[in-house]
Structures are given as C-alpha cells and as structure tokens.
C-alpha cells in the first residue's frame, strides 16, 4: 500500500513537469508525427473491432429487456447516449492503455536499461523533453479521435442488430439516434478523453523512466503501466462524470 502511494506521489510530480517542458523549445515535431502514427493508425484495427463489438453486444443485451416493456424504439437512443457519454470513452481508453501505455513503458524502460537515456543526456538532450513530451501530446490528440471513431462504429453495431432483426429501418434509426444526442452528451464524453490520453502516456513514461535492472525491469514497467493507467483512468472517470453532470447536467 505504501508503495502504491509512493508511486502516486512520484507520478504526480513527474506529470506536473510536463506542463513546464511542453512549452519550452525545441519542439520535436518529427517525434510527434511518428507517435501520432504509432498510437493512432496502428490502434485503428483494434479500436474498430472493439467499437463494433461494443455496439453489437450492447444492442443484443438490451433489446430483450426493452422489448419486455414495449420500448424497443428507444434502443438507438439508449445505445447512442450510453456509448457517447460513458462506454465509448472508457472502453477505448482502456483498450488504448493496454496497447499504448505498455508500449511506451516497455520502450522507455528498454532505453533506460541499455543506457540509451544516459546517451541522450550526454548528447545534451533532455530525455524527458525528447521522450515524454511528444508521446503525451500525441496521445492527447489521438485518443479523442479514436473515441469518436469507436462511438460511431458502436452505433453502427447497434444498427446492424436492429436491421438484421427487422425491427427498424435505417432512416428511423438515424433520426432516433440524432434526436437523442445533444451537446451535453457529446462534449463531456469527448472532453474526458483528453485527460485519459494524458494519463495513458504519462503513466507509461513514468514506469519506463524509473525502471531498474535488466529485461525483468522492462517487463515490470510494461505491466505496471497498463495496471496503473487503467486504474487511474477509472478513478479519473469517476471525478469527470461528476464534473460533467455539474457543468452539462
């Protein structure tokens, strides 16, 4: 337990440093573009599958319950609101944390144990500035886009269920979905993904940087990154849901 709180304290000071470092040149645009591609386009297949499955499962699971109350026509609205406000952002963040946070943790940890980070320092390059800042910015940019994409696919998944069972035509489905969603659903859902993106990259970088030992340390860094990032995403979600309700109702 003590170790957990030590991690939290150290992680907090590690993450606050980002605010200062992000504003200071040189700006590593080349690194940023490379991480945007890595975190974004290489996460697309996984996010596509998860988004579609999320919509299919949610629709299949809730359809019989709604049918019991004669409220099947509410299914598009129910799926759209659940996905856009909560499930889309959180599930996408957890999936991306599994891929990206562990990847960042393992990559930086590997650089630590092979003295590449020391080599950067000797080359007068600030390792935090070079390794952490572009990764965090890339994750903050990419996660909202991936979430919007996953939300869209989840709604498509729900439509497939309704279409296959012959319960609703596409025009009615689209109308019901669009009518049910408002700015107060979309903005809080997307806004919290900026925080989730930040958490994913900063936690991976933190565990990578503090790695000790050889390959065992690299493995531990990757595992700890996913576990911690997932946990902090859920805690942050709890807070952000409350903030969203206060601000948007």
């Amino acid at each position: 337990m003590k170790r957990f709180f030590t991690h939290l304290y150290e992680l907090a000071s590690f993450s606050f440093r980002f605010v200062k470092e992000a504003l200071v040149p040189p700006y590593e645009f080349g690194e940023l573009v490379s991480h945007l591609e890595d975190f974004g386009s290489r996460s697309l297949p996984l996010v596509s599958a998860i988004g579609l499955l999320m919509g299919l499962i949610l629709a299949l699971q809730t359809k019989p319950t709604l049918a019991r109350f004669g409220a099947e026509s509410f299914l598009p609205a129910m799926v759209a609101i659940s996905v856009v406000r909560e499930l889309g952002p959180v599930i996408t963040a957890l999936i991306v944390a599994g891929r990206v946070s562990s990847g960042i943790g393992a990559e930086i940890a590997s650089m630590r144990v092979t003295e590449q980070i020391d080599a950067l320092e000797v080359s007068t390059v600030d390792p935090y500035h070079f390794l952490v800042v572009p990764r965090v910015i890339a994750a903050v940019i990419v996660l909202p886009l991936l979430t919007a994409y996953a939300d869209f696919l989840a709604i498509i998944g729900a439509f497939i269920v309704m279409f296959v069972t012959g319960d609703m035509g596409w025009q009615l489905f689209i109308t019901s979905t669009l009518n049910s969603l408002s700015i107060s659903d979309i903005v809080p859902g997307i806004a919290k993904t900026f925080f989730f993106g930040y958490i994913i990259a900063i936690v991976g970088s933190y565990f990578g940087f503090r790695t000790e030992g050889g390959t065992e340390g690299v493995g531990k860094a990757a595992t700890s990154s996913v576990v911690f990032a997932s946990f902090i995403i859920l805690i942050a979600d709890l807070v952000l849901v409350r903030v969203g309700i206060i601000l948007f109702g």
């Binding site: 650089m111 003295e115 590449q116 020391d118 080599a119 000797v122 080359s123 007068t124």
Partner: protein
C-alpha cells in the same frame, strides 16, 4: 584536464567509491582497471554528470561537475564523447542517423553537413557499408565501432570509454583497442578507459590505475603495474594467458 578529489558514491548501504583521487592531464590516455562491481562505470558516470557523487569534487576543464548548473553541465557534455558499455545506440535509428542526431544536438549544425561528417567518421571506423543498417542488424564488434564513431563525431576534447572490449572475441577486442588508440593519437583527446581487459589497457593507455575498495590503489604505466607485488593486481596480468 580532469581532476577528481575525494570522490565517494554509495548505493544504499553499498559504498562503491570511497574517496577516489585521480588526475588526468590534457591529451593523456588513462585506464582504470578493476574487477566487476568496483565502481569503474560509476566513476565515468560521475565525470559526465550522469550520477551525483555523495562527496568529493570533479573538475573538468575548470568547471566543477558536481556543483554545475544545467548550463555548465551542457558546456562540459559538449566536450565529452562517451562510449557506453553496450554501445547505447538508439535502436529506432540507423547507424548514420545515430551520428547525425548526436551532431545536430551537440553542435547544432545543418543536417546535410552533419550527414557528410557522419559518413566520414563511419568510414574511419570501417562501417561505411553498414551505415544505413539498424543497430540490431550489427554484430557486437560493429556496434562498438559505431558507438565509437558516434562518440567521436562531435570531435570531443574528452573521450570516456566504458568497457570497450567486453563481450568481444580477442581479435575484435584487439582491433577495437587499436582503433581507440589510433583515434586518440589522431585527435589528441583526453581519454579515460575503464576496463578489466589488461591487453586493452596496454594498447590504449599511457597510464593506468587499479580501482579497489573504492580508491585507485596503484597508478603507473602498465609495465610499472605489472611489477607490483600484489596478488589482486597480478591477477589482471595472469588472466589473458
């Protein structure tokens, strides 16, 4: 010029360096001999400001490293080429990109000029043909050569080499040692080489010292060290045979 006085460094309860004294004059090549875990690499990392000593003073060309602010530390590091034990080549970059990256950050020179210079240094260490390969595609000896080229491409005044021949076969070890000596003579750098390989120390250095119990117990030329009546020192000279 590198002057170290009373350098101490511990990790937890383990005292690695315990009042180490060392003076290396400009243009000299000095080897630190010692068994594994005696603090050879720690000494080098303290000189480069990568580790903060618990006590003592390190002066590199009139700047005190252990008390230096970030700007002074950068000034010192611009003078240092560091050959790491495992090479520490950036594995996401090709060999020539490793050199260009080092040059462009150290000296802030244009990329085209950095590329030309990098190619010249890779030719010097016999790696021109492999310059577009990734580090993972190179053998251990080639990685050491590439890392040496990366350390030297910035034209450092000081070269720090951490176990340059570890993990290499005797023939490649000899080649790397000869290469370091040749480049040292050619560029007149001040060099500190830490090694447990007496053959490497003999080829590379003008003087050497034996690190034991956290201090340099004996210093002198390799021939002088060979004549010391101490079982641990004699062990270095027996091992290659």
């Amino acid at each position: 010029m590198i002057k170290i006085s009373g350098l101490s460094k511990s990790f937890g309860n383990l005292a690695v360096l315990n009042g180490l004294e060392l003076f290396v004059k400009k243009g000299e090549a000095f080897s630190i001999l010692g068994k594994s875990g005696t603090g050879k690499s720690v000494t080098l990392k303290c000189i480069a400001g990568l580790l903060i000593p618990d006590a003592g003073e390190i002066i590199v060309d009139s700047i005190t490293v252990d008390a230096a602010n970030i700007r002074d530390l950068r000034t010192i590091r611009r003078k240092i080429g560091f050959l790491f034990q495992g090479g520490a080549l950036y594995d996401s970059m090709t060999i020539i990109e490793n050199l260009i990256f080092n040059l462009s950050h150290h000296l802030k020179i244009p990329r085209a000029m950095a590329a030309d210079k990098s190619e010249n240094y890779l030719t010097l260490v016999g790696l021109k043909e492999s310059m577009n390969k990734l580090p993972s595609e190179l053998s251990g000896g080639m990685k050491k050569r590439a890392a040496l080229a990366r350390a030297l491409v910035i034209e450092p005044q000081i070269l720090l080499c951490d176990e340059p021949t570890t993990g290499l076969d005797p023939i490649t070890s000899g080649e790397i040692s000869e290469l370091i000596r040749r480049l040292h003579d050619q560029f007149q750098v001040t060099a500190i080489v830490v090694t447990h390989d007496i053959l490497c120390a003999g080829i590379v250095s003008d003087r050497a010292g034996v690190l034991e119990d956290g201090i340099l117990k004996y210093t002198g030329s390799i021939n002088e060290l060979a004549g010391i009546d101490d079982e641990k020192v004699a062990g270095f000279f027996k091992s290659p045979l």
